[in-house]
């Protein structure tokens, strides 16, 4: 029998539909794989019993002659620990949430269960999604299933959705939910040879997602193929009256866009993304991507996004500012961890000093600073103005092109500790991805090749607002052209 865990989501759904295997068999295969892969530290909560129960229910639905079957019926998925799951511990991988177990379900995960998906457990991530290497997790870092050629050194899977990316790359789930505030879906996808898409801001509900930076946070999937990511994203997105920023529009059928090809499409190449010190390897990959799309019938146009260089500084003002307010609720008063002090202030200080990790504390302090009286105009207000300019850059650029092609990250996966000493160097990882968050645009990362050291490299496609279809078309074309089939060698 073939290894069920190696299937794509699309083929697994076909197999379930044609009864080649049951959901229980499929789920059991993943449960076993997860057990054997604990060294990767991808899951922070495993829910095998719940998974098998859900799988059994799915099999029962499929067994009925006229049983109502969901779009993801019987498909075992991993859930980033950022999503509140009823009755299953949810901590956003922060110590401050202790053993917090929600009594409610996030809208995104509810959408998955409504379509019959099976939950394998909760996936590791950077604490409160603040990080690009998964090193800030309260539960320890995730290890990338990929290793450099001839080297056993542990590499980061990227972040913050490191657990999601690693578990998909290591065949620990068919696909996973993730979230993206500044690149937290796309960068880990690029580091693990998987596909990740962040949709247009407002496509997916934020209800029940532990908030990092409300105006930037957006849900999305990490999957093995562009098609899989389209299947999952379609189910994740919905209009939700419980989220005031949720868009009241219908979710299109994106799966059909994936193999449409790029003939006649105009692809913009932004000159400002050719940043100083861009490695030859990344540049070569980008040029290769351009050639693939040209060969597939697209027209390449040079575009300019003049305010790109201000994106990263603006992002690292807006995101911490919102976070400093969003995380104020973790005060040890109503739920989560609490360190008793002699006074109210001491209880606050003790709880937050011990509950939050160093990187979260750093960002809370930055955020508090940029919002404080006398600094607000110089930092926060200015950053918001930059944000408007960046959005306008994209509007102007999309006058002449249908989608934009860029590298996903400035480098392949790096080793633990390599960048964690210098926060600014770590923040530079987001240089190609934050613009899409600041402008609210959809962006997809697709694996396109291997580095000289044998690690996956990704390309990013940014689409117009609400034009995820363009991301899927271009992403699908890149996937076809790249023929990326490399998988990490199983060492765990």
């Amino acid at each position: 029998m073939t290894d069920l865990t190696a299937l794509t989501l699309a083929s697994a759904l076909d197999g379930l539909k044609s009864k080649q295997f049951s959901s229980v068999e499929l789920t059991q295969a993943f449960v076993s794989a997860i057990e054997k892969a604990r060294v990767l530290n991808a899951f922070v909560v495993e829910t095998p019993e719940k998974a098998l129960e859900m799988a059994k229910a799915s099999d029962a639905r499929r067994a009925k002659a006229k049983g109502k079957v969901g779009k993801l019926d019987g498909a075992p998925l991993g859930i980033k620990d950022l999503y509140c799951t009823k009755g299953v511990r949810t901590t956003a991988c922060s110590g401050i949430l202790g053993e917090f177990t929600p009594t409610y379900e996030s809208t995104v995960t509810q959408n998955l269960w409504d379509q019959g998906a099976v939950m394998l457990g909760k996936l590791n991530m950077d604490e409160f999604a603040m990080g690009s290497s998964n090193e800030t997790s309260h539960f320890g870092n995730v290890i990338n299933p990929w290793r450099r050629k001839g080297d056993n050194q542990g590499l980061t899977p990227g972040g913050s959705s490191g657990g999601s990316a690693a578990s998909v790359a290591a065949n620990l789930c068919l696909a996973a939910t993730a979230s993206d505030t500044g690149g937290s879906i796309r960068q880990p996808a690029a580091f693990t040879g998987t596909v990740g898409i962040k949709p247009t801001y407002g496509r997916a509900s934020r209800y029940g997602m532990v908030a990092f930076a409300s105006s930037l946070d957006q849900a999305g999937p990490i999957a093995k193929t562009v098609e899989d990511s389209a299947i999952l994203l379609e189910v994740m997105c919905s209009h939700d009256p419980k989220d005031s920023t949720s868009l009241n529009i219908k979710t299109p059928n994106w799966q059909k866009d994936v193999r449409k090809g790029v003939k006649g499409m105009k692809i913009g190449i932004p000159k400002e993304y050719r940043i100083e010190g861009l490695s030859e390897e990344i540049d070569a990959l980008w040029q290769q991507g351009i050639k693939w799309l040209k060969d597939a019938g697209a027209t390449i146009v040079d575009i300019s996004l003049p305010h790109t260089k201000y994106a990263l500084p603006a992002y690292y003002i807006v995101a911490p500012a919102e976070a400093s307010s969003n995380l104020a609720r973790y005060d040890g008063m109503r739920y989560g961890a609490r360190v008793e002090g002699g006074s109210l202030t001491q209880t606050y200080e003790g709880t937050r000093a011990s509950g939050f990790g160093k990187e979260v504390q750093r960002r809370l302090m930055i955020g508090t600073y940029v919002l404080s009286s006398g600094y607000y105009d110089a930092y926060y207000l200015r950053a918001q103005k930059v944000r408007t300019k960046i959005f306008q850059d994209f509007v102007d650029a999309f006058e002449t092109c249908d989608a934009i092609l860029t590298p996903a990250c400035p480098s392949p996966a790096f080793a633990f500790g390599e960048k964690s000493g210098d926060p600014v160097e770590m923040y530079l990882n987001d240089v190609f991805t934050v613009t899409a968050n600041l402008a609210g645009l959809p962006g997809i990362a697709v694996p396109a090749g291997l580095s000289a050291s044998g690690l996956p490299l990704g390309l990013q496609v940014i689409g117009k607002a609400l034009d995820e279809a363009a991301c899927f078309r271009v992403g699908g074309a890149l996937e076809d052209a790249a023929g990326f089939v490399a998988r990490p060698e199983k060492w765990w």
């Binding site: 949430l97 908030a211 409300s214 920023t245 508090t368």
Partner: protein
């Protein structure tokens, strides 16, 4: 109407005046909270009305309650204010256990309602009172916090989140209030407006209307300079008196606070800008927090909420549905009933009073009705400390009494006796008059006989009245006395004049 004379306090170095601006927190009369579906019912068990959003559970998001927005617009229209079609919610960040989110959602930079004004009627003891215009700076929507209970346990504080997230309208006045009485009258008038609009229950005891008063003192003439230039440097440093919910305490607190500030300045000191609380037991204000401890609230637009954009058509629909407001009612009372500005103001300061009056006046002499309601009935109720709802005399009973005066069955003087008996529970006016034989004597023959007797018995007075017609009153008094007050005064006058040849 009395003139608006400046309220002055004598200091050791001369006279001082007071300048005040008020911030009223009025709880929106809604069933659900501003950003969650939880109930706003008063008196529920602690923490019974708390949704996941109110408790700030991870991942919970606010969703604006349309009904609350509508009430803010209604109130704005009632204050003759600008309704802003674009407004926005900001976060006011600070830590406190009864503030679960760690921030209050409020409207800082862009409130839903802009500038407006209200006419305030001020009562002056023993005089007719006066009115002044108080300008409104803004009205904005915000969440209430929960309640910290410090006195249940010596070592712990308990938190009740039932109020957490309840919608408040903060109504900010310009510094147009100039005396303790004006401050109380302003709160009264605002309360009457929101009650008439139905946007707030206005129950001070339940805390759904609370006032913060910013008090400063200045020398006579400085305020006028401020009004001319708009420059606050002409005014003194202000202190904010927080959370007052009684008209009496508001006045006491202001008076105390103004004297405290004057004493500091005259002693060569400086008033610190700070927030103070009034202690009604000790009759003094004390510092709550100084400017140095003031929070840096780090306001910024709430990214969980979109800007509030209101269609003009909706505003117009709401405008069309507005009920008659106290000022409109007052104007109508002046016009339709011929009442004075002051009487009309008193009667329309409260919807119940206006309703009561209209019932008394229906089909009767309105001015007479207004006099009886404001002087006799309200005078009695005030003296006894009763609310109108507790009045022993109903509107129809009082109306019955007034009818007896109007058709000359009894005189105004007898009516006062009848009124006392009505208060004592003796029943309807007509029955009391019947039982006690108080009917006015209009039989001219009977009156003539009494008059003849008195003229015959008092030749000296008769001689005197020829020279001094104003001494006729003495004869009237004698006749009334002889008739037990029942003689019709008009008839007595007419007969006396004829018989005395005046």
């Amino acid at each position: 109407m009395t003139d608006r004379t400046p309220f002055r306090i004598k200091g050791e170095t001369g006279d001082w005046e007071v300048v005040m601006g008020l911030e009223i927190h009025a709880q929106v009369a809604s069933n659900a909270k501003l950003f969650s579906g939880a109930s706003t019912a008063f008196g529920s068990d602690p923490n019974a009305n708390v949704s996941l959003v109110d408790a700030a559970m991870p991942g919970m998001l606010p969703v604006i309650n349309r009904f609350c927005v509508e009430q803010a617009i209604r109130t704005g229209l009632g204050l003759k204010a600008q309704i802003n079609t674009y407004s926005r919610f900001d976060r006011k960040n600070y830590f406190y256990p009864d503030l679960p989110q760690g921030y209050q959602i409020s409207q800082f930079a862009h409130p839903i309602v802009g500038e407006g004004e209200i006419e305030v009627d001020v009562e002056v003891p023993g005089k007719p009172g006066y009115a002044f215009t108080c300008r409104i700076e803004r009205l904005h929507l915000e969440q209430d916090a929960g309640k910290s209970i410090h006195d249940m346990d010596p070592h712990a504080t308990y938190v009740d989140l039932n109020r957490s997230g309840v919608a408040l309208m903060e109504i900010v006045s310009k510094p147009d209030v100039r005396s303790p009485a004006e401050a109380a009258a302003y709160v009264k008038k605002l309360r009457a407006i929101v009650i008439a609009l139905g946007t707030c229950d206005g129950d001070l005891e339940k805390g759904n209307l609370r006032a913060d008063v910013n008090v400063s003192v200045c020398r006579p003439g400085q305020y006028e300079k401020f009004r001319e230039t708009g420059d606050f440097k002409h005014l003194g440093t202000r202190c904010e008196l927080k959370n007052m919910n009684s008209y009496r305490f508001i006045q006491q607190a202001i008076e105390y606070e103004a004297r405290r500030q004057i004493e500091i300045i005259e002693g060569g000191g400086k008033v610190d800008q700070e927030t103070r609380l009034y202690d009604p037991v000790k009759g003094e204000t004390r510092s709550m927090r100084s400017k140095e401890d003031a929070h840096d609230y780090r306001y910024f637009p709430d990214p969980d909420l979109l800007p509030l954009e209101i269609e003009q058509a909706w505003i117009e629909d709401i405008r069309k549905s507005l009920p008659e407001l106290p000022d409109q009612k007052r104007a109508r009372f002046e016009k339709d009933y011929g009442l004075s500005r002051y009487d009309a103001g008193v009667l329309t300061s409260d919807a119940d009073k206006a309703l009561f009056f209209e019932e008394v006046a229906r089909g009767r002499d309105a001015k007479l009705a207004a006099n009886w309601v404001t002087q006799e009935l309200f005078g009695y109720l005030n003296k006894e400390g009763l609310e109108l709802a507790q009045s022993p005399v109903s509107a129809s009973a009082l109306g019955g009494l007034i009818s007896l005066i109007s058709d000359n069955t009894i005189s105004g003087k007898i009516a006062k006796d009848v009124f006392v008996r009505m208060i004592a529970g003796e029943g309807e006016a007509a029955a009391i008059v019947e039982t006690h034989g108080l009917k006015q004597v209009t039989d001219t023959g009977a009156i003539e006989k009494v008059v003849d007797d008195i003229i015959a018995a008092n030749p000296d007075q008769v001689a005197k009245v020829k020279d001094k017609p104003q001494t006729l009153g003495w004869f009237v008094g004698q006749v009334m006395k002889a008739s037990g007050g029942k003689a019709n005064p008009q008839a007595v006058n007419d007969i006396l004049k004829a018989k005395l040849g005046l």
